[in-house]
Symmetry: C2
Subunit: 420 residues, 2 copies
Amino acid sequence: MGWGDLGCYGNEARETPNIDKLAAEGALFTDFYSTSPLCTPSRAAMLTGRLPIRNGVYTNNTFGVNAVFLPDSPGGLPAEEETIAEALAKLGYRNKVIGKWHVGNNKESFPLNQGFHEFFGSNHNRMGPYNNESYFPHPEVYRDDKMVGRYFEREFFMDLGTRESNITRMWTEDALDFIDKNNDKPFFLFWSADGTHKPEVASKDFLGTSERGVYGDVIRELDYGVGQIISKLKQHLLQNDTFVFFGSDNGPAYQRRVDEGGSSGPFLCSKTTTFEGGMRVPGIFWWPGVIPAGQIEKIPANLLDIFPTILEATGAKSSNPNVILDGQSLWSTLTDESTSALENNSIFYYRGNGLYAVRVGNYKAHYWSWNAAPDTKNILGDPCPGFYQEGFITTNITDHNDQPLLFHLGRDPGERYHIE
Amino acid sequence: MGWGDLGCYGNEARETPNIDKLAAEGALFTDFYSTSPLCTPSRAAMLTGRLPIRNGVYTNNTFGVNAVFLPDSPGGLPAEEETIAEALAKLGYRNKVIGKWHVGNNKESFPLNQGFHEFFGSNHNRMGPYNNESYFPHPEVYRDDKMVGRYFEREFFMDLGTRESNITRMWTEDALDFIDKNNDKPFFLFWSADGTHKPEVASKDFLGTSERGVYGDVIRELDYGVGQIISKLKQHLLQNDTFVFFGSDNGPAYQRRVDEGGSSGPFLCSKTTTFEGGMRVPGIFWWPGVIPAGQIEKIPANLLDIFPTILEATGAKSSNPNVILDGQSLWSTLTDESTSALENNSIFYYRGNGLYAVRVGNYKAHYWSWNAAPDTKNILGDPCPGFYQEGFITTNITDHNDQPLLFHLGRDPGERYHIE
């Protein structure tokens, strides 16, 4: 999902009344980033508070673009990496991940070996071989440690003709059920609804309801799910006891088909790139009575900050104080509007093991600024349709390390004019 | 000012808390348009409710791009055109325009001959010859029918070195004074603060306060002015008696200098073009107790609709029922969320006397789609920096009348992919 996909970030279709309400009642971060322009490394980074190059969940193939675990990718999130779930489990939290997990294929990387007590979802993205079983089988769906089906099959169907699927509805219902069962004890729910990932499919009730096609239908169903989860918290009078974070693991995918593209708002390009559109994402925090309502926060922040923030909010301790956390706690910023200690937070824009750009204050230096390797552009689609600038947004792999291309994101958030 | 310049439309700099509050307490239109991609014809259209080709305020030179009145331009808004002010004067309203007027150079076009009782501002834009008096003298500033000074001189200084000027502050103070003097009778204030027009200058208190340069400083000062005006209404307990509309007469100017550019948000290009960035602008309506709070309205609407809306809101009558109004009243939409009679409102995108594009529902057909004539691009700057698409956004003057280039603004608000 992109920065520009939510009404509270200016989306003109205004499909997200429930998420917009979270933002109005909590804190909306304007300069919030995923840790990678792709899902797998971003997710592992959020779960551990550590950069992909530290926690090991990254790849260095295909110039770092192809950093997503495929069914035949080796490895995964190492056992020795501590996750949010592991830190909270020690405090007695009941932890569940629902939806997409996708941080590794070896058994030690699976949710139940990484601090979660329950799992309902898939360890893969939702792209399958569809009917070409000669390549990979359809992605497996698990309930806890048991495989209970496969995407595209039976109750986990995704009808690529009608674009109908009940998957997002199942993620929502399972979340409500989890809250019902755990309303009298501390819990951590990682609601990892992956509806905006291709192939985009939605429930019958939402299909055809958005003016921006199936992608908008999916956004509406996700927003409905958020609304249901918040209602469930309120039903159990948990709203003043629950820390809610809403974010995304990378910018939107621009698909070649018009009706499947998300919005990066005013920012350049999309997923897979280290331009703002690839990594600037929604960042919304909600906790009525603790996080003041109506905060607009402009400090640069990152998915990496979620783990340290949760540590501070809950009083949980990292099991090994010598482990370097790359994120910083946002807790004082969230709870006290006057705090600005994090104003000069830096943002590191990685692809795989390559550092492509760095942001300090409002300045962003691009060391590598190409958008797609020629051989991946045709496979993954064009991440920058209509945007090309010689030496900057190109498929030429240019090294700007001697003289980085410098942009001022305050004056020029769209990265149109580099500073000469 | 552009669609993307306000926090409530997603601007990442979030410089407009007062205007954002108007939107939260009133109705925000996502699909609101100026009538022209340039100021003069847009302003005359708003004042009369009639398309420029009907009210006569347009030019057909330079392919319709140069439709702005310069000091030596003949003509202006005809005497027989009825303005909002003329219609309200008949009901006993006291009418004032503060700031930029700019709808014609002949005396009959001046505010006091077009239904306004008071005027404080200029009949020109703020571009002067600066120190080159061989061309034109600096633009005149009027108080009512008396010239009281010139831009760049004495109290109307604009210091192009420090970028300081008190002009916006004077517009604000004059507005507060007008409300103080007229708080016991009906009034119409056209607060036409032109701070976002080049040369952008701001008061000392605002200079250097925005992360996006002088343009952002100006936005912050305009927002402060709006806040002061709303406070003044509340001080006189007029908030439940006053209809407030906030809009813009064209999209943002992208200047060649980075720190002078506005934001068109997710839309293509800027002022002078008929792409969405040139004409999609903020549209916010506020009247506590009459217009329900928190409305997000997605029907396409236009500055043309302001006159008919004011007629319906006030019960004023058009003096000649045979005069064709091109706008439609938004009153029932504003006051009753269930209304959708205007869903299929059409938007006509004119440059001068040329119809360049038409929007019906979510479909927009481009008949002419070039961005700038080669001979104006170098003078006015590039309205589409970084965006070029062969046969669409080019300086080649291409006629698509046989097969218009068609876009779906719901799925593709950024006009990236035309429907084949």
